[in-house]
Symmetry: C2
Subunit: 409 residues, 2 copies
């Protein structure tokens, strides 16, 4: 457990290059997932990764959950290709949406048992698991090698309002005078259960509250990436979290909203660790983990993402996990409570994502103790503006949604 490059306390090195000979390179047009991963690598979200993994790295991560140099790393980053005229030693120009995005220096071309990856990373080879499906659908050959971003990203509305690189995150934290920053991972429009998860986590990160100087902040870091039918649309997730602070439910003095480009793997416990690493790269000191973190279906037990941290030493992680139980509305207490502090289990009203969805689908405004009225209104506005009338992802949205960013020529 030698050194800790990048995990939070060390300088982030951005991998951005200006090059003139892009057109002379062999080229591959890449899909959105890889493009997003390259952006995240280049800006340091995935530090200390400098590119896609080679055989030794994939093998070590899959088997040991560590990079070969001992650094904790839970999920392999894989650049898959289908048979092509690519050779080790090549420098390849990567285009996205037909435009130059990045270059990769092909260090190694190799094969690796995809089913074995699935088994180790997802603890299942069930094709219904979306992470497993993605893994098994990878091309048969993988490229290991460093990447550099070679083009400017121009983020579209509303993403441009919330885009911060890791270095910029750290700068904003400094400007705000925050000494402790607790990260909140989300792919959801916030209900009050989420809101109080953040509020309680804020207290949990705060041992030493000084009056008049909020030195602890909450970073709401949305994961923007592959969407599934029925998910909330990305634009709505951002805008509704923004509404929470805009309308004073969580003061802007302690609230910051941003996003990370990453396709959820739904890898449960392993993905929880990845989220911790990403947020430590952003400069966060704490990370909330609630129920079913980064899980899907019944592949992981509700608090499995908490348990994995028992096997990880503090030295391995430059961020402190805050484990919270699921909140519920307690009509007896008249507020958002949890099973450890409140004993009114028989009366508790749990937040059901699917119930909430069906209410929203029927365009019924939930009570303010379930969803803040301004959050609901913002959601519906986002549906009209970005979701083709629907707050949830539809086929139409998948086909016609606006890109997260555009590339210069």
């Amino acid at each position: 457990m030698t050194q800790y490059i990048g995990h939070g306390r060390v300088e982030i090195v951005e991998r951005i290059k200006e090059i003139n000979d892009f057109n002379e390179l062999k080229k591959i047009e890449i899909r959105r997932q890889l493009a997003h991963e390259i952006v995240s690598i280049a800006y340091g979200f995935l530090s200390p990764l400098r590119g896609f993994m080679n055989y030794e790295e994939v093998d070590s991560v899959v088997k040991e959950m560590r990079l070969p140099n001992g650094i904790l790393w839970p999920i392999p980053l894989i650049f898959d290709i289908i048979d092509r005229e690519i050779r080790e030693g090549d420098v390849i120009g990567l285009t996205y949406m037909g435009k130059p995005l990045a270059i990769i220096k092909v260090d190694e071309i190799f094969k690796y048992d995809k089913k074995y990856i699935a088994e180790k990373v997802y603890k299942t080879t069930d094709i219904k698991h979306p992470g497993v499906r993605r893994t098994l659908n990878y091309g048969d050959k993988f490229i290991g090698g460093e990447v550099w971003l070679v083009n400017k990203l121009k983020f579209n509305e509303p993403y441009n309002r919330f885009w911060l690189t890791p270095i910029q995150h750290r700068e904003v934290f400094k400007q705000k005078g925050w000494k402790k920053i607790v990260a909140f991972q989300t792919r959801n429009v916030p209900h009050t259960g989420h809101e109080y998860l953040m509020k309680y986590a804020w207290f949990a990160a705060n041992e030493n509250l000084k009056v008049d100087e909020p030195r602890t902040g909450i970073l709401v870091n949305v994961v923007i990436g592959e969407k599934r039918i029925g998910d909330y649309i990305d634009e709505a997730i951002l805008l509704t979290h923004d509404a929470l602070s805009k309308y004073g439910y969580i003061s802007k003095r302690v609230h910051l909203l941003s996003f990370t480009l990453w396709d959820m793997r739904y890898a449960g416990p392993r993905e929880a660790i990845l989220h911790a690493i990403i947020r430590s790269n952003l400069g966060c000191t704490h990370h909330v983990f609630g129920r079913d973190h980064a899980g899907v279906g019944n592949y992981y037990s509700p608090y499995e993402a908490h348990e994995i941290f028992d096997y990880i030493s503090e030295k391995d992680l430059l961020i402190k996990p805050i484990f919270l139980r699921e909140n519920y509305y307690c009509p007896k207490c008249g507020g958002i409570e949890n099973e450890i502090l409140c004993d009114h289990k028989d009366e508790k009203q749990e937040f059901s994502g699917s119930l909430l969805r069906s209410i929203i689908m029927d365009e019924v405004k939930p009570t303010k103790m379930v969803m803040r009225p301004e959050v609901y209104d913002t959601l519906m506005r986002a549906a009209r503006e970005y979701g083709f009338g629907n707050p949830f992802v539809t086929e139409e949205y998948l086909k016609n949604r606006r890109n997260v960013f555009e590339l210069g020529d």
Copy 2:
């Protein structure tokens, strides 16, 4: 800053003796304040004190806020006498309510400028300040010397249900499996603002919540001592805090109720430090300090008790202070909030102790978001049972209240 005897981590040594020759000793009948202080010294609440202070100790505490050996100590413990036939070297039998209570070995008889004590400890010599008044009313000579308890205490209902010595506190914490214990100081019947102060402090003490095992608890430690007209009666304070957990607002798994015999000095910041020391002696790891801690009138600014901790090193205090802002009910959030997290300042409904008192005086049941109905009902029951029909201290209560404890013959 040599050693730290007693402040939390070290063995508590109880000062309890069986003696046969009590009747042969010179005797002094002492007032309730001194009796309570002797009990607190003997059981280790005030560890490392072993008795009442001598000149050097009073002088050092008053001027430096430390004992001569460097240990942090904010308030002098003084045994005052009026002219008597007592000599240095005497062992005096102390009776209370006419029965043997303790012995004191007279180490020194001395005088000290009482006005100077008031000025340094209370930052005022205004006789309207109850701590100042008590100080100026002390007899003109002080005895310094060690004390030992020589009799058994039999606590009356309802005190007997909540009496725990420091050693017993630590045993209960161990049985409950609590690793962190956050102390809550009170002289009040709890409104929801207090309840959430405790809940938020619980989160603040908890960096690493593990599911299913609440390893953090809240100790509600009531200060039982001199009462002023209009205070809540002691019995009601205990029983209403008990109701909070009995009726599930704060689960018994994370809640313990006990008391310390101590006459409030209302010394604001200095008393906050004393409270921290007492609770570290009980085995607590954290201590909540809210607004106006241990203050009275306008002698101290609302958060002066927070500020004093800036001048105290962590090594001096074996307990971590948790500083919380005052809570209020926010009708927009629909819950108990505070000024750092919530921005709806214009709509906030502050908890006003005096308003609440006047509502209760009129026997109007407050809404459950101000005071839990079971707390109110318990308060009213306590008023009938112990308060001569009144939940607040009256002349009648002061004259006829049941003793906290009785002594054997």
